[in-house]
Amino acid sequence: MAILEARGVSKSYTIGNRRIAVLDEVSLNVPDGEFLVIQGESGSGKSTLLSVLSGLDSIDQGAVLIEGREITNLPEDELAPLRNVFMGFVFQSFNLVPALTALENVMFPAELRGDQQARDKAEKLLARVGLAERAANFLHQLSGGEKQRCAICRALVNDPRIVFADEPTGNLDSVNGQAVLELLRQLHRERQTTLVLVTHSREIAGTADRVVTLRDGRIGVDNTYV
């Protein structure tokens, strides 16, 4: 059974008076443990696809299933705990909470779950990514690469089944970008977490188990590698 499935998903946005179709009947199956890259040019709809697959955004048509359970019409208060336990997120803009330290950011999803080991887990993860000494720092005291590593730790603290990464290296220089990517791959291998990563970089796509290319809101190519 696919861990993540999209069936005929369509999504559009209204800007002013215009309705812009971003996804057009996209169907996709993601097996458990796969490293999937969703690739496409800017404006192809890849970030939108990621956000609807993860339940962060709604769809106009179709269905999204997680482990066979349809999440399309679930109310937000049911989606939230699902995201907390099942998913992790890594964003291009990091999207960490400015008022929390690095450690507190990582602990947050675990604390939401009532995990008594939240601090321990967070400290271990930060140490794993080389941020043990930055645990007490606030975001404005961290570099871009450090922020993204912190975000990766946060994504993994609850041992999610799926990690969604939206252009995780988009705001990083090439050195940091490589380091972050390598970290993601390592963690994916160690934990057998399904990793769905959005990028426009062919180079990054080349390291995935499978690449899905989006063009104008539709899946153009679906290959095991590029």
Partner: protein, 832 residues
């Protein structure tokens, strides 16, 4: 899972909005709690000092000499040594210096040697009042000495007596405030009363007997005995516990009005709470989106931010209570001259509890909607996606109903009168509705404008920047400014009508207490044609057979049927009267007593032609049929009477006569001296001087009202500040982009300044228009005055308020103007 550190950091991270929120909470309770504490202090001082305030245990009042039955009962009780008593006689009369041709209207208080039973008459010399006020002596107020250029030791002619001034009074226990007196106080010994020869039949005199009981436990029993002996409707017996005092009634009424303003401020400040919290939460939207993205549910989010709000609200409440006590400390200065010197301000714990409850309620109600709306924040907020605007949800309606219920409950609880409360609620609701409609219309029109000038164009666009609470700023400012502008315009019109340009045809000098037998001689001495008005004092006992409940009537605000009236008789209408109903002043085809009623009386009780009114006139019951209803055709200071009888009803009743004249200012003093020298019992009132006294009082009262109304303007100011901070990021962005594209700092400054100028002008001009309309209605329909728009003062008010809005808006934007493009752009790229 509350995270106190996160709460603290979020508050500090959005400290501008947090401060505005706290200030709005503070403002919402400041005036009400301070007034509440102040009222309690005044009331408890009055109760504590009630004996001193009345100088006795029992006070008996009458406007006619006491009846033999009452005097007999008093004598009996005195013989049994159960009580002691002192007679007091108070009336106005003109006093003259012995050697100079100067005279002055003074309030005479003739007292027996045992006065006062409680409290002390304090004299400048420090000597005992009882030792100083011997027969032939006077104790006077300093004002009299100043105005007549006299000093202790000089003599004063009062009526037919020549008495010596012995000392100067500083404090009088049963007259704690003298701001309302028409003339300075003169104390005279009871032994000299007969020698004065000033009191005739029908003279306007306040007769009192003060009683001290030997045993406090007998107070009610003795008061009951005296009440039984007193003539009903003529002689009133009260204990120090039940007796009202004029100053207390005045303060109760005035504080009542100030409470209304306090409630109005609370509502506006509540809107500020809602606005600042909305802005605070808008700054947190991305954080909330992130929290939801990683799995926080709405309940967690709402609980967390409710905790934030509770911390801020509690802090605001505590600071508000502290500030209320500080303000309460300032109130005596504000009320200087209107308050008894013996009032002691105390921190009342009930006021503290009330403040805490009020703060809690205000915060809970006005934060309900912004917190509830957190449910609508979706995780996609992290992508900066704005939610589409929706129609008002059920929550919005619940919020509106909650506010309405809270407001109505608060008004009814604080005011205690359903009818006035309902009028107030309707008035405020209508004001806010009209302000909202007019603001919406004007802003819609402004949005359509495309001025050629770049600064103006950018400034107008800035008004409609996302999250700019322009509409609510304008509505709040309009509502607050309408109150202040209206008070000012009404006051100016009153001043204009009665003080600055005294009506040319209005009398400026009144001669009262002319005895009927003196009328001819007086007219001859006067040498000026005049209309003479006979005056007979009487009470109303019933209307259409329904007995008047005097206690209930006295409790009404405004005029009432429970008081004593000045009745008169004549055959025709006065020049400034006309008939509203009735074929003539009186009906020839009716027999029996008839009375014509002034339409003002209809506001006290429903009456119409043909109804009957029962009077008690000098102890004699008279039932008269209403023959007509009159009105005054224009506002003036000509004498007018509520009740005019046919001649045969009253011509033989004990009465005095008065007349009112217009005399050139230079001649009034000489005329007064001449009349008083010949007729010492006649009181002469220089109305222009009296009007000046009331003008001073009016000025003081409107200053106090404006002071409290300014707090409601502060609510509007806080919303401006909140809005500036809410749009801070966008403003910085604009400022940076302007600079990147080549604009100088002064261009950016000009854009912000013009934006605030438009905001201030819009609010002030709409407020001015509304207040002109309201003031016109008040002056024309309630006060019966002519109306002037006072363009100069109006312009000044508009300019002052606009300048204030500009100053506040720019003050809050100073840091934005300093922001450097490179710093901003780097931050933007780091945040992605």
């Amino acid at each position: 899972m509350f995270n106190p550190r996160l709460i603290r950091r979020q508050i500090l991270g959005s400290r501008h909005q947090s401060i505005v929120f706290v200030l709005c909470v503070l403002l919402s309770m400041l005036t009400l709690v301070s007034l509440s504490g102040f009222s309690r202090s005044v009331r408890s001082s009055s109760l504590r000092d009630a004996r001193e305030l009345h100088a006795a245990d029992i006070i008996i009042h009458s406007h006619t000499p006491f009846s033999s039955g009452l005097l007999a009962e008093l004598s009996d009780l005195k013989q049994k040594k159960v009580i002691d008593s002192a007679r007091i006689t108070i009336f106005y009369s003109v006093v003259r210096a012995e050697t100079q041709e100067v005279s002055l209207l003074a309030e005479l208080k003739v007292v027996e040697a045992t006065y006062p039973f409680y409290g002390k008459v304090e004299l400048v010399s420090g000597r005992s009042f009882r030792e100083v006020l011997t027969p032939g002596s006077l104790v006077v107020e300093q004002t009299l000495l100043d105005r007549l250029n006299l000093r202790p030791g000089d003599k004063l002619k009062i009526g037919n007596a020549l008495l010596t001034i012995r000392d100067v009074v500083l404090l009088e226990p049963d007259r704690p405030v003298n701001i309302f007196a028409l003339g300075p106080r003169v104390f005279i010994s009871e032994v000299d009363l007969a020698a004065l020869d000033l009191i005739g039949k029908g003279s306007r005199v306040d007769y009192r007997i003060l009683v001290k009981v030997a045993d406090e436990r007998e107070l009610e029993r003795i008061a009951g005995l005296l009440d039984n002996a007193a003539l009903p409707d003529r002689e009133r017996v009260e204990t120090y516990r039940t007796a009202g005092s004029g100053i207390k009634r005045f303060l109760d009424n005035f504080l009542f009005f100030l409470n209304l303003i306090g409630i109005f401020t609370l509502v506006l400040a509540g809107l500020g709470i809602e606005s600042s919290l909305t802005a605070f939460l808008a700054e947190q939207e991305r954080t909330i989106g992130i929290m939801k993205a990683v799995g926080a549910g709405s309940r967690f989010i709402i609980s967390h931010y409710y905790a934030v709000v509770s911390v801020l609200g509690l802090f605001g409440t505590l600071v508000g209570i502290g500030a209320s006590f500080l303000l309460q400390g300032l109130l005596p200065n504000l009320f200087h001259g209107l308050l008894p010197a013996t009032v002691q301000l105390a921190i009342s714990w009930s006021a503290v509890v009330e403040g805490l409850l009020l703060g809690l309620l205000v915060v809970t109600i006005f934060t309900f909607l912004p917190l509830y709306r957190l449910k609508e924040v979706k995780p996609r907020a992290i992508f900066g996606k704005e939610e589409p605007k929706r129609l008002p949800s059920r929550a919005t309606w619940i919020f509106a109903i909650l506010i309405a219920v809270f407001f109505v409950s608060l008004v009814l609880l604080r005011i205690g009168e359903v009818k006035i409360g309902a009028y107030f609620i309707l008035g405020v609701g209508l004001l806010i509705l009209v302000a909202w409609l007019s603001a919406t219309g004007v802003l819609w029109a402004l949005k359509k404008l495309r001025p050629a000038n770049l600064v103006l164009r950018q400034a107008l666009k800035g008004l409609f920047r996302p999250r700019n609470a322009t509409l609510w700023i304008v509505v709040t400012l309009i509502a607050a400014l309408v109150v202040i502008f209206s008070i000012t315009l009404v006051e100016q019109n009153l001043e204009e009508t009665f003080v600055r340009s005294y009506p040319a045809d209005s009398p400026n000098i009144f001669f009262i207490d002319i005895q009927p037998g003196q009328k001819e001689a007086f007219a001859k001495e006067l040498g000026i044609a005049a209309i003479y008005y006979p005056v007979v004092r009487g009470l109303i006992t019933a209307v259409n057979g329904v007995t008047i409940n005097r206690e209930q009537e006295h409790r009404k605000r405004g005029d009432n049927l429970g008081r004593e009236f000045s009745l008169t008789y004549r055959r025709q209408l006065l020049d400034d009267e006309r008939l509203v109903t009735g074929q003539g002043l009186f009906r020839d085809d009716w027999s029996g007593p008839q009375v014509s009623v002034l339409d003002t009386v209809l506001s006290m009780a429903k009456m119409q032609v043909g109804d009957t009114i029962a009077f008690r006139i000098q102890g004699i019951p008279v039932e008269a049929r209403i023959s007509s209803i009159r009105t005054r055709s224009r506002a003036s200071l000509q004498p007018f009477f509520y009740f005019v009888f046919t001649e045969e009803v009253l011509k033989d009743a004990p009465q005095t006569v008065f007349t009112a004249l217009r005399v050139e200012k230079e001649r009034t003093a000489a005329l007064q001296n001449r009349i008083v020298a010949r007729f010492p019992n006649i009181s002469v009132i220089d109305v222009t001087a009296t009007v000046a006294v009331f003008s001073r009082i009016m000025e003081r009262l409107s200053l106090i009202v404006r002071f409290f109304a300014l707090f409601s303007v502060a609510a509007g100011i806080l919303i401006i500040v909140s809005s500036v901070f809410a749009t801070r990021h966008t403003r910085i962005q604009e400022a940076v982009f302007f600079k990147i594209l080549g604009a100088r700092r002064r261009f950016v400054f000009a854009v912000f300044a013009v934006e605030n100028l438009v905001l201030g002008l819009t609010s002030s001009l709409i407020a001015l228009l509304l207040s002109q309309i309201i003031s016109y209605i008040i002056c024309r329909t309630e006060l019966d005055l002519g109306y002037r728009a006072f363009p100069g003062i109006s312009l000044l008010m508009v300019l002052a308020m606009t300048a204030m809005v500009i100053a506040v808006g720019l003050g809050a934007s100073v840091s934005i103007l300093r922001e450097r493009p490179a710093v901003f752009l780097r931050q933007q790229s780091e945040e992605g």
